[in-house]
């Protein structure tokens, strides 16, 4: 079978499986729709959480980012895993003991205030939509590159699949499809990683391969060789970063706290039977996540070596087939600055901006670009970082079924995250806005219907954002983590660990954190992007890391305001006492 047929087969089979699971696990009550009935095994939930968490960005982009950023990319590796320690130790067991359906549920009840609940809903919706637009785009991109359908068609197919199991099955359907999606995506990620690690180092375990010697007879370690080769070309050393220490510190912290405050992750811990299961489940989630996250740095480093070795000083006429395939897909471009027909790699951009291709081809047959060349650099090759994972199997000459597997894995990663986000959006609308705030008299059946309608509406909006991505989407991913860190995390944390935190303090803190972080990111990313350089940053902290300053402001304002206003009523202090002890989680879930 040729590769294209294999891709259709693998993707078709995986989609059939997701739909089958959806039909088998339809939700019959709001409890099943919001929290899968609250009886999910902690290991199963850990696996679903891992699929929920690992998005198209983790699967497709992360290794590519590491390949080109080296040490600097550590912020993502530590940031996106360290958050789970905070979740397991500081939030998940208590929120499970509290035992309701959504994050705004907790904030609204703990701070005895509809206003607090509505502020939380606003944060949640903003965070989730920012995040989901990228997922639908990811679905579209995988479809268009591997299945040769237009991006729009790809997004619509993705929407239809997610509609099927998110709207029918709610959290219950999502949980079991996510388990299947985790298996698909991790298998798809690990297989090429084993091959490539073995090819380059002779050791098939990528985590060990990255610490081993290259098997080219030089006796150099992989990282030593990368450092040498890159410095030769005028780059900084791979193991040395270019970001300032304070910025690395703050970005890591903002990503950690942001991860712990992301509603679609938190809500997964509402689905296990007991408070102690929530801890265990977070541990398993991190095991399943770490499998991919400790492999990604190896994949990144190997891909960089492979790429340099196959491309640098190679005549274009001799370039491998994958190079020309991805060039045809607009992700690679070669600008022959010195007219020698040979491709040279070096530090710096080959030309200004993203390639805009002319309809003509050059003397060697390459696609010409109209961008003005960057004369300050000898670099001639433009490469989109995303191809590092997508093209890896081709670069390493792996068989067609591995390429097909990667396509199915990328789709699984994007769909599972999209579904989890859609669920928190729809439950915050049907449960927090309708049932708990504006129409408390709504029946269980009516609420379930409202949840399904809002999930449908959310899918349509997400699909629209995927087909017509507003220019700002890529610019504001920092929003999701920054806002979660600066608004939701402190409110939840203080709600558990401080009995004297009252509604005035919590609301003032959330609003301060939200407004500060939002304005800082919006100013540097949208209003005045030219000013987005280290010299203008507050304390040298970039917009990606500012959420942590927002979080500190939130804490400070909340504490000061709560000292000046009335302490929370007795029943709220009793509520805090009851969520602090694990006994009785089953009862709490029933109320």
């Amino acid at each position: 079978m040729d590769t294209q047929t294999l891709i259709y087969l693998f993707v078709g089979l995986s989609f059939t499986m997701y739909i089958g699971i959806a039909i088998w696990s339809r939700a019959g009550s709001t409890k099943e729709f919001y929290v899968a009935g609250g009886g999910v095994n902690p290991v199963v939930n850990g696996m679903a959480t891992a699929a929920d968490w690992m998005s198209a960005a983790s699967f497709i982009s992360m290794a590519g980012i590491i390949a080109f950023a080296g040490y600097d990319a550590s912020v993502y590796l530590m940031g996106w895993t360290g958050g789970y320690v905070m979740l397991a130790l500081l939030l998940a067991p208590y929120l499970r003991k509290f035992g309701q359906f959504t994050v705004p549920d907790f904030i609204g009840t703990r701070y005895y205030s509809k206003a607090a609940r509505v502020v939380a809903v606003v944060c949640l919706i903003f965070i989730s939509f920012t995040y989901i637009a990228g997922q639908m785009r990811g679905v579209g991109i995988v479809f268009s590159r591997f299945l040769d359908v237009p991006i729009t068609m790809g997004v619509i197919i993705g929407m239809a699949i997610v509609f099927f199991y998110a709207v029918l099955g709610g959290m219950k359907g999502i949980t079991y499809t996510q388990v299947a999606q985790y298996c698909v995506l991790i298998f798809a990620y690990m297989v090429p990683a084993f091959f490539i690690s073995f090819l380059i180092t002779g050791n098939p375990i990528p985590q060990l391969g990255l610490g081993s010697t290259v098997n080219d007879g030089s006796g150099l370690y992989v990282l030593q060789k990368l450092d040498l080769v890159l410095q030769d070309m005028g780059f900084g050393a791979y193991t040395d970063g270019s970001k300032s220490m304070i910025d690395v510190f703050c970005i890591t912290a903002a990503l950690m706290v942001g991860t712990a405050g992301l509603p679609h992750v938190i809500v997964r811990f509402f689905t296990v039977p007991k408070a102690s299961d929530a801890r265990k489940s977070a541990g398993w989630a991190l095991v399943f996540i770490a499998l991919l996250y400790t492999t990604a740095p190896a994949v990144g480093a190997f891909a960089r070596i492979n790429f340099i070795e196959t491309v640098d000083q190679t005549e274009y006429a001799e370039a491998p087939a994958w190079f020309k395939n991805w060039e045809a897909n607009d992700l690679i471009a070669w600008y022959d600055k010195n007219d020698d027909g040979v491709m040279q790699l070096a530090a710096g951009d080959a030309f200004m901006g993203k390639p805009s291709y002319a309809d003509t081809t050059g003397t060697a047959g390459q696609r010409m670009v109209t961008n003005p060349p960057n004369e300050e650099s000898a670099n001639e090759v433009y490469v989109d970082r995303d191809i590092m994972v997508l093209a890896n199997p081709e670069i390493a000459n792996l068989p067609g079924w591995v390429i097909a597997l990667v396509a199915a894995g990328g789709l699984a990663a994007a769909l599972s995250t999209a579904a989890g986000l859609l669920l928190v959006i729809s439950s915050s609308i049907s449960h927090d806005l309708l049932k708990s705030t504006f129409r408390p008299q709504i029946t269980e059946k009516g609420e379930l219907m409202a949840a399904r309608i809002s999930a449908t509406a959310a899918i349509v909006v997400a699909g629209y954002l995927g087909i017509y991505p507003p220019g700002w989407v890529a610019q504001v991913v920092a929003f999701a983590f920054g806002l979660a860190a600066a608004s939701l995390f402190p409110a939840i944390f203080m709600g558990i660990f401080s009995k004297s935190m009252n509604k005035e303090g919590a609301i003032a803190g959330m609003v301060t954190g939200l407004v500060f972080t939002f304005s800082y990111i919006a100013y540097f990313k949208l209003v005045n992007p030219e000013a987005n350089v280290a010299a203008n940053w507050l304390f040298g902290v970039s917009p990606e890391g500012i959420g942590v300053i927002g979080m500190l402001l939130n804490f400070a304002v909340a504490i000061v305001v709560s000292k000046m206003t009335a302490s929370p009523p007795l029943e709220v202090r009793k509520l805090v006492d009851s969520i602090r002890v694990p006994r009785g989680a089953g009862d709490a879930a029933a109320h």
């Binding site: 590491i66 040490y71 990319a73 550590s74 590796l77 530590m78 895993t81 360290g82 789970y84 320690v85 397991a88 130790l89 500081l90 067991p93 985590q207 060990l208 990255l210 610490g211 081993s212 010697t213 370690y221 992989v222 990282l223 030593q224 193991t239 220490m245 690395v248 510190f249 890591t252 912290a253 950690m256 007991k274 408070a275 102690s276 801890r279 265990k280 977070a282 541990g283 991190l286 095991v287 770490a290 996250y293 400790t294 740095p297 009995k499 004297s500 302490s567 007795l570 202090r573 009793k574 006492d577 602090r580 002890v581 694990p582 006994r583 009785g584 989680a585 089953g586």
Partner: protein, 90 residues
């Protein structure tokens, strides 16, 4: 804190303060392996190596993640024991 005394039993209070002590210890380790070894003291640690990994780089891209997993499972195990001790387990 006086407000705690009004509403909780002694064993609940003892349970909670033991939990807090454990949390502080574990979060300190969490901070040291990531922000400490992976960021603040990376340059110093990079003089040493673990196989082909400079040590600070290893902590930043591999080691911290392994420790994170260990921390969560240790906490899960330890909390179960503390809860049983005070008869507050679920």
């Amino acid at each position: 804190m006086s407000e705690d005394e009004v509403e909780t039993t002694e064993s609940e209070q003892a349970y909670w303060s033991e939990n807090i002590r454990l949390l502080v210890t574990l979060m300190a380790i969490w901070f040291v392996v990531s922000f400490g070894a992976g960021i603040l003291f990376r340059d110093f640690l990079d003089q040493f190596s673990l196989g082909g990994y400079p040590l600070g780089f290893w902590f930043a891209q591999q080691g911290s993640i392994y420790v994170f997993i260990g921390l969560i499972f240790y906490y899960t195990w330890k909390m179960k024991r503390i809860e049983r001790k005070y008869d507050l387990d679920d």
